[in-house]
């Protein structure tokens, strides 16, 4: 078991939230540490461009 999994179970979540903002808010309301990413679909959501980017990066 990875240390981060042990850490998750022993200390609780310290989370990065990506997507639905409500999920970050509910973690925050339970006094759990969380940040919400300012996420947008990569490459303007263009699947071909995303595939190309993934090959390059």
């Amino acid at each position: 078991m990875n240390d981060r999994l042990k850490d998750l179970l022993q200390k609780g979540p310290v989370a990065i939230n990506i997507g639905v903002l409500d999920f970050a808010e509910s973690l925050k309301n339970q006094d759990s540490e969380v940040i919400h990413l300012n996420w947008t679909p990569p490459a303007g959501g263009d699947p071909e461009l995303i595939a190309l980017l993934d090959q390059l990066l």
Partner: protein, 515 residues
């Protein structure tokens, strides 16, 4: 009538938030219809279906926000548009001040993260989950529409790294007392649970809480984890984690029946496990003997919760929450005023697992029901919009929720369905579920009470009596307050249980004549 479509370039919001904004717009006086969606191809089709089409909409990208409004006149429309910024600004919370754009960026600046909670649209989920795992994070993957090949590859990668990937389509987890996704506020305690369905985990954890014990961790796996294709990778990793966890004394497993090779792996793991294991495989046709499995097998979620509490604390909680006198009184009430053609039950569920479990319980009582999500040997509804004879509908399934909020968030879909069922003179019983907890509707009972009242009074006008049975899944510590929701329903004449299986058993009793 006037229609307008606004495009806000490079302004991204999540779908749950946008559905709430659309509801706020639609609730304004004189607004006939409103939609707020990101400019994906799928959303453009949804907009065209409801009559919103324009060159601007066609050219919008998935990063552009489309606001489409139909109003009675120009003044109403202009006034509403003026308020849009204010509604959209509610989406810019304080959480993290929206300062990082990628997982890599966030981890570089704050390396202590141990979990990524991912709920982006399905087509981007694999990419983000993989990035999170590469950064050494465990993953709670709420996103659905992730191909099974991606799921397998992500889970193999997680296993390789000693991490856990909960999901895809994972609705619920409770880790060290913190609820993630649609979870309830429950007591901490000695029982660990691993489950393939969110509502299954919610029911189990709230029942353990109601039985006086508590939860160490509740780990969601996603619905396909115990398929032969995925091979139970998350179930097995979660079992390892719970076995090593000092707080966990008993481990419960909740799932539909596993695939045969996944079951073999699970059995091996159970047999080597040093802690007692209880398994509930909903829909399992035959009850195998306990010996080959190496653990206690039970039929329903409440039995799993009750037995777990007994193994952890030594006390077996009772499943019967009503006195015999109360039950007899209700059976008499049900029988009085019923017309001979009132023969059928209609279950209108927000929780898919509750719909499935109720079918199993009714089938065990010899009652076969139609459903849009049928149990083995039950007929599939030809049209999910129309019930026939005995019918239990999972209103959270895809055919109802494309472009609409899930019934756990918004009761609109169930409201309409209750009224539709109540018009059928053959209906005798309505069976409903109410699911509380983080991220669910703040007043699910209050939202449906007007529909329940109307259904009961419509039946009365026809000289019939309609029986409404419900279950509430939650705790007194939930934002909605279990006791408040329970009392609201009781006040409207609903016979309420705190346990979905018991509500279904009671309905079976009513249908079979109380024998």
């Amino acid at each position: 009538m006037i229609t307008r479509c606004l495009i806000r370039k490079k302004e991204y919001y999540d779908s749950v938030f946008l559905m709430r904004v659309a509801k706020q717009i639609a609730g304004q006086r004189g607004i006939l219809q409103a939609a707020t969606l990101m400019g994906t191809e799928k959303n453009k089709v949804l907009l065209a279906d409801i009559g919103f089409e324009s060159v601007e909409i066609s050219s919008a990208t998935p990063n552009d926000l489309i606001i489409a409004i139909r109003a009675e006149n120009e003044t109403i429309l202009s006034n509403t548009i003026e308020n849009i910024d204010q509604w959209l600004n509610q989406g810019v919370g304080e959480t993290g001040a929206l300062s990082y754009r990628t997982i890599e960026e966030a981890v570089t600046h704050l390396p202590r993260f141990n979990l990524a909670v991912i709920s982006v649209p399905g087509q981007y989920a694999d990419r983000e989950a993989r990035k999170a795992l590469e950064q050494g994070l465990n993953v709670f993957l709420f996103s659905d529409n992730v191909p099974v090949e991606s799921e397998l590859s992500l889970k193999e990668f997680a296993r390789e790294k000693g991490l856990i990937l909960m999901g895809p389509d994972c609705g619920t987890a409770i880790i060290n007392g913190i609820g993630i996704g649609f979870a309830n506020r429950v007591r901490r305690g000695p029982i660990g649970v691993i489950g393939s369905s969110g509502t299954g985990l919610q029911e189990f954890t709230t029942l353990v809480h109601r039985f006086g014990s508590g939860i160490s961790h509740a780990i969601g796996t996603g619905g396909r984890d115990l398929s032969d294709q995925v091979g139970g990778i998350t179930f097995l990793s979660a079992m390892d984690a719970l076995e090593s966890d000092r707080e966990t004394k008993v481990i419960a497993l909740l799932s539909k029946p596993p695939g045969s090779s996944a079951l073999e792996k699970l059995i091996q793991k159970i047999q080597l496990c040093r802690k007692p294991v209880i398994a509930c495989f909903l829909g399992l046709k035959y009850q195998p003997t306990h010996e080959p499995i190496g653990c206690k097998l039970v039929r329903t979620i409440d039995e799993a919760a009750s037995l777990s509490v007994q193994l952890a604390t030594g006390n077996l909680p009772s499943l019967s929450e009503k006195s015999q006198q109360k039950l007899e009184e209700r059976i008499r009430q049900h029988r009085s005023g019923k017309k001979s053609e009132q023969k059928y039950i209609r279950g209108i569920f927000a929780g898919g697992t509750f719909c499935y479990q109720a079918q199993q319980i009714l089938q065990d009582a010899g009652i076969f029901v139609h459903s849009n999500a049928p149990l083995q040997n039950n007929p599939k509804l030809k049209d999910p919009m129309h019930s026939t004879e005995h019918t239990l509908v999972d209103m959270g399934s895809d055919e109802f929720t494309v472009g609409r909020p899930h019934p756990m968030i918004d009761s609109g879909l169930r409201y309409e369905r209750i009224l539709t069922e109540a018009k059928d003179p053959q209906v005798s019983i309505l069976l409903l579920d109410f699911i509380l907890g983080f991220n669910a509707s703040l007043d699910p009972a209050g939202e449906l009470l007007p529909a329940i009242d109307e259904a009961i009074s419509e039946a009365k006008k026809r000289g019939e009596s309609l029986t409404v049975v419900a279950s509430v899944c939650g705790t007194e510590q939930d934002p909605q307050d279990f006791n408040l929701q329970f009392k609201k329903l009781e006040g409207a004449g609903v016979f309420v249980f705190s346990n979905s299986a018991q509500a279904a058993r009671f309905c079976g009793l009513l249908i079979t004549g109380g024998s």
